[in-house]
């Protein structure tokens, strides 16, 4: 009887629920939300996959699995994920090492930080669109510069390229934290013991960053696996991938079950990454980062030549990224890319007339998602890290499920689960908002947990010993102290809601649509200028929001609180 045994080991967990009514209500409400909007959709998908006419039947699953195309897609997805993992981690390491260990001037670090963050806050197609602009049949580089006719841009290499540029910032943020966490005196010590620079790097720095490198690889692998937008535009028919195939199965062939099965195959590597990260990398990480900010080492970890080589790589990448964004802006301001280079504001006129509804809808959905997701994140983050109650651990993991799953699965699951009674949500804004909350609310949870770890429990105890009730303590002490975390969380939920597509594309309707979906539609209709204009608009909105929140946070920033950008990583 394991349940009873556990109870007798920790009798407080039940007692606390009874003693603290506010906690009890929060726990019940959160569990209702999690059951309805995390477990229920996933179970519905699973049921569709394993039943046929109400009976258990795996033949559909077997049939799908035996198709060569399915296996090829699965293989491609994993291959691409691994390649993006390796390339992105390598590029991220270049940037992180340069920024932490080469004594860059402030100006350079700031430039890198800003440029690197661009791909993370852009709508998912941005890089894919600009790759087409550069390397497509009429591409600026392939056609105009190199004079190649009908260059075939579609396939694995371009997808790899676009995804690497899009996701390497995640690696940069992860590795920068790890490298900065290595006490430079450890390296000084190795150096003073007579090691050469290369030996210090090879025997000290690299082994200490192993967990970070592994973590970065897994994060990029998962990001690539889940990426839907880039392959939809760039992969082409010769390089099928699971998320896009699942999408085409449903929208093209109206085969809900086939799509569900394809997305479910995606679940296996995603879950593997989730558990590896949680139980393997996560533990190792903890040892390395001390959080102590020691004095900056004066010893130069790298020689002059190495330093300039690293700087050159970073600079070229930075220029490349900037080039892509300038290109995007340019494409949005001319009549037809590659054919008619006359300046025009038509595309912007178009998005603010025909596209007005999409912009309004997106803002409404992102704003509502931000408020709900922020509240959800703070409450879940607070009770899972501060309170002890029955089911706490399980709640913590459950709240991370939709966040860790590829959006395609979550989207399909919502589509299947909520298109009939008892919970009929298809066609509403609510279905998109709830999907965003259940998925991106995790950012709010993470930022809350991070900031709570810095608040010593005695501060809340002091409040109680002065006679304040737990609710009063939460309102007057905890909330003001976690506010910075709340705002970073809010900002990221907003940004993710603005730029999301992989799940949302299954949930949009005639009544409610999104900018990202319109970008995709315009891409397929070859109205590239409008797509570019929409993309520029999203980048600008997100940029304003990010800057606004960052400067707002500066107002009451506490010592040692984390930067918002660090939340984009992992």
């Amino acid at each position: 009887m394991p349940a009873i045994e556990r109870r007798s080991k920790n009798p407080d967990t039940f007692k606390n629920l009874v003693k603290d009514p506010a906690l009890f209500i929060s726990v019940v409400v959160i569990w209702i939300f999690l059951i309805l909007f995390v477990f229920f959709p996933l179970i519905r998908v699973l049921l569709i996959i394993v039943t046929e006419g109400g009976h258990f039947n795996l033949s559909g699953f077997g049939e799908m699995l035996s198709k060569r195309y399915t296996l090829l897609s699965a293989f491609n997805s994993i291959l691409l994920g691994a390649l993006v993992g390796v390339c992105g981690t390598a590029l991220g390491f270049f940037f992180a090492f340069t920024s932490v260990r080469t004594n860059l001037s402030k100006w350079w670090s700031r430039l890198f930080d800003w440029v690197i963050i661009l791909p993370l806050i852009s709508p998912p197609f941005t890089m894919a669109i600009t790759v087409i602009f550069s390397f497509g049949p009429n591409g600026l580089i392939t056609h105009n510069l190199l004079g190649i006719q009908n260059f075939n841009v579609y396939g694995m290499w371009s997808t790899l390229f676009a995804e690497t540029i899009t996701y390497f910032p995640i690696s940069y943020i992860t590795l920068k934290a790890i490298l900065a966490g290595i006490d430079p005196t450890v390296e000084d010590m190795a150096f003073s013991l007579g090691s050469s620079r290369w030996q210090v790097f090879h025997k000290v720095t690299l082994p200490l960053s192993t967990s970070g490198l592994a973590n970065s690889f897994l994060l990029l692998f998962a990001a690539s696996l889940a990426d839907f937008a880039t392959p939809l535009i760039l992969a082409g028919s010769s390089f099928p991938l699971l998320p896009t195939e699942a999408f085409l199965q449903i929208t093209g062939l109206f085969d809900m079950k086939g799509g569900a099965i394809l997305s479910f195959i995606l679940l296996i590597p995603s879950m593997a990454v989730f558990f590896l990260q949680r139980y393997w990398v996560g533990r190792r990480n903890y040892v390395t980062i001390t959080g102590k900010s020691g004095s900056q080492t004066k010893f130069k970890s790298v020689g002059k030549i190495t330093k300039y080589f690293f700087l050159l790589v970073c600079l070229l990448t930075t220029i490349f990224i900037l080039y892509f964004y300038v290109l995007l802006l340019y494409a949005s301001l001319i009549k037809a890319f590659g054919a008619n280079n006359t300046f025009t504001l038509d595309h912007y006129r178009s998005i603010f007339t025909n596209g007005k509804k999409a912009i309004q809808d997106t803002l409404i959905i992102a704003f509502s998602g931000m408020m709900l997701g922020g509240l959800y994140g703070v409450v879940v983050g607070y009770i899972t890290s501060k309170k002890k109650y029955f089911s706490r651990k399980f709640m913590e993991i459950s709240a991370m499920i939709n966040y860790s799953l590829p959006g395609t699965i979550v989207g399909i699951a919502y589509l299947i689960a909520f298109n009939r009674r008892p919970i009929l949500l298809t066609g509403t804004a609510l279905i998109i908002i709830l999907c965003n909350v259940s998925k991106y609310g995790a950012y709010g949870i993470r930022s809350t947990v991070a900031i709570l770890q810095q608040i010593h429990p005695s501060i809340e105890e002091a409040s109680e010993s002065l006679g304040a009730s737990p609710v009063h303590t939460f309102r007057k002490i905890t909330i003001p102290l976690v506010l910075p975390g709340l705002f970073s969380g809010l900002g990221i939920v907003f940004i993710r809601s603005m730029t999301a597509i992989s799940a949302a594309i299954f949930l949009v309707s005639l009544n409610w649509t999104l900018i990202t979906v319109r970008i995709l539609e315009n891409m397929t209709e070859l109205q590239l200028g409008i797509s570019a204009a929409f993309s520029v608009l999203v980048v600008i909105i997100v940029f304003i929001v990010t800057t606004g929140i960052t400067s707002f946070l500066k107002l009451f920033r506490q010592k040692g609180s984390m930067r918002m950008s660090s939340l984009f990583g992992s």
Binding site: K9, I459, S465, L466, G467, A468, S469, I477, P480
Partner: protein, 361 residues
């Protein structure tokens, strides 16, 4: 307000340890704090003193046992219903509030009006010598000032009891001494029953009416500083309160509760015995460093040694003396008026029978 009594009745708190299984942090602690008394829980880290304190404050729940403040059983009351002022080791000031807001926090909860709050805050700030600090924020103040704000915040609401958890451990040595007499002065002036937790024996002796020495979750001895210093019950207490030498000896005979023991070639009669011993047994005899006298060696000297280390400390000289089979710490006070010795000098060791003890291990 009349000071109240605090009573702990057989408190037990256990934890699950990953390897060791269930271990007792507090193992049946019973004690009482008389009205207006300052009682100190003293012991090494992990002795259960802080856990005991946290149970009184309401931040830990005892597995069994009762806690009374006055006649009220508060064992199961929430922390905010106990009326116990708690001062934390790290002060736990609210970082987003000014000094005024920190101190007024408890008053607001008690629905005290603005005028009265202003008056009480400036009164308590005067009491802790921080007049005019109302608008400062915690991060703008020194550790000692923060400590006094924490104290002011706890006492301004006139709690029934005051609980101080190692309040001085984050201050430097000089500030510790001045702040502890401040705390003692306030505590006496307010006549508030207080429990004070520390691992510093000197601090405990300086501030307390009585001291509770704890080890491994048990109370070893309760008494005044004098009781504990002059009449420790166990070797642990003797070693924890002040310094003490352990000298190996052999019991020669036992008569009327007095033991004749041999140390080196000398015989001594020890009558301070708190342990079952028998003739022929080897036991450690305990002597404080200041109870040992050193003399210039003469023909009749029996117990002798060589000075291996000499440390001049101004008010005294500390010697390490090597004798046959043991080392001694000897303190000689007011050295200018006494004979002093040099390193490597051979000396006679004079032990006073009356000041030797044989205690429970």
């Amino acid at each position: 307000m009349e000071p109240v009594k605090i009573r702990l009745d057989n408190l037990v708190k256990t934890y699950m340890h990953q390897e060791k299984g269930r271990i007792a942090a507090v193992n049946g602690v019973s004690l009482s704090v008389e009205p207006g008394e300052l009682l100190t829980l003293l012991g090494p880290s992990g002795c259960g003193k802080t856990t005991t304190m946290r149970m009184i404050g309401g931040f830990e729940e005892p597995d069994s046992g009762r806690i009374f403040i006055g006649s009220q059983d508060i064992t199961n009351a929430m922390a905010n219903k106990r009326d116990a002022g708690f001062v934390f080791q790290n002060y736990a000031l609210f970082p987003h509030m000014s000094v005024y807001e920190n101190i007024a926090y408890g008053l607001k909860i008690r629905n005290i009006d603005k005028e009265e709050t202003d008056r009480l805050v400036s009164e308590v700030l005067h009491l802790v010598k921080l007049d005019g600090y109302e608008k400062q924020f915690p991060h703008q103040m020194s550790g000692g000032e923060q400590q006094r704000v924490a104290l002011a915040r706890a006492i301004v609401v006139k709690p029934k009891v005051l609980l101080l958890d190692e309040p001085l451990s984050n201050l430097d040595a000089k500030l510790r001494v001045s702040t502890r007499s401040e705390i003692r002065r306030l505590q006496k002036a307010l006549s508030i029953s207080t429990i004070y937790v520390t691992h510093d024996q000197e601090e405990a002796m300086a501030i307390s009416d009585r001291i509770v020495v704890m080890d491994h979750g048990d109370i070893i001895q309760i008494g005044t500083a004098e009781d504990l210093y002059y009449s420790p019950k166990t070797e642990f207490v003797a070693k924890f309160i002040g310094k003490i030498n352990t000298i190996p000896s052999t019991v020669l005979s036992l008569v009327d509760g007095q033991a004749e023991v041999r140390i080196g070639d000398s015989k001594y009669t020890v009558d301070n015995i708190l342990r079952d011993i028998s003739a022929g047994q080897n036991v450690d005899v305990l002597v404080r460093p200041e109870a040992i006298k050193l003399e210039v060696i003469s023909g009749t000297s029996k117990l002798t040694g060589v000075i291996s280390e000499r440390v001049f400390l101004g008010d005294r000289v500390d010697y390490t003396v090597e004798s046959k089979g043991f080392n001694l710490q000897v303190s000689s006070y007011d050295p200018i008026r006494r004979k002093t010795f040099e390193s490597n000098q051979k000396v006679e060791i004079i032990l006073d029978d009356k000041r030797m003890k044989i205690l429970e291990v």
